[in-house]
Amino acid sequence: MSATTHEPTTAPALRPKRTHPAAIASAVLGVAGLTLTAGIASPFALWKGKQAITAIEADPDDYEGRGLANLGRVLGLLGTVLLVTWLVLGLFTNVLPVDIGQVFKTALNQALGPNAIVFALAAIGLNVHFGYTGLLNFGQAGFMAVGAYGLAVSVVTFDIGFWPAVGISLLAPVLLAILLGVPTLRLRADYLAIATIATAEILRLTFGSVEMSDTLGGSNGLTGYAGTFQELNPFESRLDLGFVAFSARDTWSVLVGWSMVAICLLIVWALMRSPWGRVLRSIREDEDAVRSLGKNVFAYKMQALVLGGVFGGLAGLFLALKQASVVPTDYSTNVTFFAYTALLIGGAARVLGPVVGAMIFWFLISGLGSFLGQATSGIDPLVPTWIMDNTQSSLVRFIATGLGLMLLMIFRPQGIFGDRREIAIDER
């Protein structure tokens, strides 16, 4: 599990041909384009297919997979034609029951809106944990939950006022990080993963329990703590910039949220270029080497866990503020997994990675959701109901997320824009 450095092995004399990765990517994208992503993946399938063919022709002794690449290209071509047809028909005519302009607007709104901010903050935290330090925190939802409930419970149940409650909400993730870190940071990476995911679930179940609903609100959660935040809202009318539009309330949330993101990014940027950040990155590579040089690895891991946890708590705090309610189901393990997806899209161990990733993630998720939602609704839906009904259409994006996470991790662990040499993840 530790990042053991292998001695470089000499190339074996006889190497079996291997299928070029781009050929596989092309075929997978081709299939995905025609099934899950309504054509959006298809142009990429074409591109990858071409790349694969070029590479195979350049190196026919090493690579095979021409058939697969061709399959990807054919499927990609079909999907692209389909995509172009959708777009043309949707944008310029009323033949289709789908308003492509609306789809783009929804997607863009989500990419710049409050939801993307929540995931950006959570992913910035995970970037500190996983991207820079190599800590597998699968309980970011737990940090978010204590941040959110720290605020809500303090105001609603204990009635201590808004600003002190914000302080508690920032302190709660620090405590959680210390409680979690002391037992688990000395253990192997996958133990930390299991311990954090279990803690997040314990928190979610406890916050939602019937028995403690007097204090914690049960499954209905808590409301009525965000008044002060809304009173501070200087916007009175809806903001409409043409390509995006937010309600007055959302405009305020978005302004506060992106400012929070900017401050967090600044902190991460400043810390990660310092010797402190260098120690974290070294721990990710090989903690025994760092130990042998006289650094207290445990203390650094703890600092990283606390810092990333506080960013996670901020995500929860912001979610609680923009939504004006905290509900336990908002802090399920899936949230952590989606934040990981966002981080990996943007590229781990890059300052801007989590933010770019969160925006792309929400753009794709809500664009796909909106498109398929429209395509499956109405009396005579575009997609026949025996293939997909309206309820099912909302699931396709999560299926696509799962597939996307797998493909990203397999083919581009460095993220969409990353440089392969610099990938942070223990790829091999």
């Binding site: 037992p183 192997r188 314990i202 939602g208 209905n220 409301t223 025996w386 299926i399 597939l403 790829e427």
Partner: protein
């Protein structure tokens, strides 16, 4: 070369989903409507919002829906009760009277928190709220479409059962639950032991077994037992396809264990949502053995199916352990899990051993799903909910050891079921097990039966 299978695997999954959905649609016609339990206020399980013959047309925007059923009277719908919805600021949004199904639908102007009040005077005679002082609930309207609310109605008859009897009952169901967990834990432990993969998609392998049983039973109309056998076979096949199409190519590429762990998270997401795509979010019942009366066996009373579940699990676990201890293949598996490099250099075909482990592991895990489906119901989340308990069981006993997995599972199973008798809130009885997981990591990370050298 095998890498090509990766593509086929993904493509196969996509098509599997496509094939499953009409099948499931077929099955939908034959299912009973899901029963929203009215004794709890849990809204975590989305109710079956599909059209089970609603007489009220649901509106387009957000709305609150409440179904009143009397849990004291076999969940009979309660008709003619007035419910009033009030917004946060005190303005009344609307009120309605429950229909023949006990359902009301009240449209809300926008999302937010609403108070739903039940007029107790309109309750039929002989029916009353579990807590007459608590006639209103707050509902978070967070979606366009239905936002369910539940009222606890019907006083549970509290009969003073002696503590020892309750303990025996809890222990019995703990043993049953523990054995089911043990099957899944054995599967996880085998796979972890030989490949080092912490498989976050393992819960979905449980669900896979259950869903396959459901599809064979409801979709093709096969008897439950035959469906179960088929599901185990299909699970084994699924394991083999996964290993050949995904995990083996990744190992060949030299993909790290952490990267593989994240791949398994993606696979889990994909499968989980595919299951929901195919069978919907409601709990589905099989066609046979749904509700069985319990027979009295002196100390304990068990339904026939429970007895069968315990028997099947015990026999399977015993056979697996004998297989692992006595046969060549079993010894090979243990050798590979001890030291893959050494096994490879001593001429063992590590890849085929790992292939066999995947087949055995997923078959065992699928069987756990089948037994769970027969024991209660089928739901797309059932395996995912169990995943952490399986992890807890395996960690408790010591990662990668067979006896540890069995031992840990029994402890976890019994703890989950017996915990409520000793003060663990029953709505979160799993929490106790998870707390123990963390305590074990704190005090004895190698697990109770693990060797110290294995873990840092």
């Amino acid at each position: 070369m095998r890498l090509r299978l990766l593509a086929w695997f993904a493509a196969g999954l996509a098509f599997l989903m496509m094939v499953l959905s009409p099948l499931a649609a077929l099955a939908d016609d034959t299912t009973e409507p899901a029963e929203p339990s009215s004794t709890t206020t849990s809204t975590e399980e989305p109710d079956d919002q599909g059209g089970d013959g609603e007489t009220v047309e649901p509106p387009d925007g957000p709305y609150i829906t409440v179904v009143l059923q009397d849990s004291a009277n076999d969940d009979a719908p309660i008709v003619g009760v007035t419910l009033t919805v009030t917004a946060e600021d005190g303005t009344e949004v609307g009120s309605a009277v429950t229909n023949d199904e006990g359902r009301v639908i009240i449209e809300t102007p926008e999302r937010g928190a609403y108070e739903v009040e039940l007029d107790q005077d309109t309750l039929p005679d002989g029916t009353e709220l579990s807590d007459p002082d608590d006639a209103s609930i707050t509902i978070q309207v967070r979606f366009d479409g239905p936002n369910p609310g539940l009222f606890p109605i019907g006083v549970e008859e509290v009969v003073a059962v002696p503590f020892t009897d309750r303990l025996v009952t809890a222990l019995t169901s703990g043993v049953k639950f523990g054995l089911i967990v043990a099957l899944a834990a054995l599967g996880l432990s085998l796979i972890f032991g030989t490949t080092g993969l912490t498989n976050f998609a393992h819960g979905e392998l449980i669900t896979f077994g259950a869903v396959m049983t459901y599809v064979a039973n409801r979709g093709f109309g096969l008897p439950v037992i035959l469906s179960g056998v088929l599901a185990v076979v299909v699970s084994a096949l699924f394991g083999w396809v996964q290993e050949r199409g995904l995990w083996r190519p990744l190992r060949r590429r030299g993909t790290g264990l952490i990267a593989m762990m994240i791949v398994s998270i993606g696979l889990g997401l994909l499968l989980r949502n595919s299951f929901q795509y195919s069978i919907g979010s409601a709990r589905q019942s099989l066609s046979q053995y749904v509700s069985q009366g319990r027979r009295d066996y002196g100390f304990i009373s068990l339904a026939d199916k429970e007895l069968a579940i315990i028997g099947i699990a015990l026999v399977t676990i015993t056979i697996s352990c004998v297989l692992l201890m006595k046969t060549r293949l079993g010894k090979a598996m243990r050798a590979v899990s001890d030291n893959p490099a050494l096994s490879a250099s001593s001429g063992m075909k590590v890849d085929s051993v790992i292939g066999a482990v995947w087949i055995l592991g997923t078959a065992l895990t699928g069987l756990a799903g089948v037994l769970l489906a027969i024991n209660s119901q089928v739901n797309f989340l059932m395996g995912f909910k169990l995943l952490l308990l399986v992890f807890a069981a395996v960690t408790l006993g010591g990662l990668g050891t067979i006896w540890g997995a069995l031992f840990g599972s029994m402890i976890i199973g019994i703890m989950v079921e017996v915990g409520p008798l000793f003060g663990v809130p029953s709505s979160i009885k799993e929490v106790g097990a998870l707390v123990v997981l963390i305590l074990v990591l704190l005090l004895r990370p190698q697990g109770i039966l693990g060797r110290r050298e294995r873990i840092g």
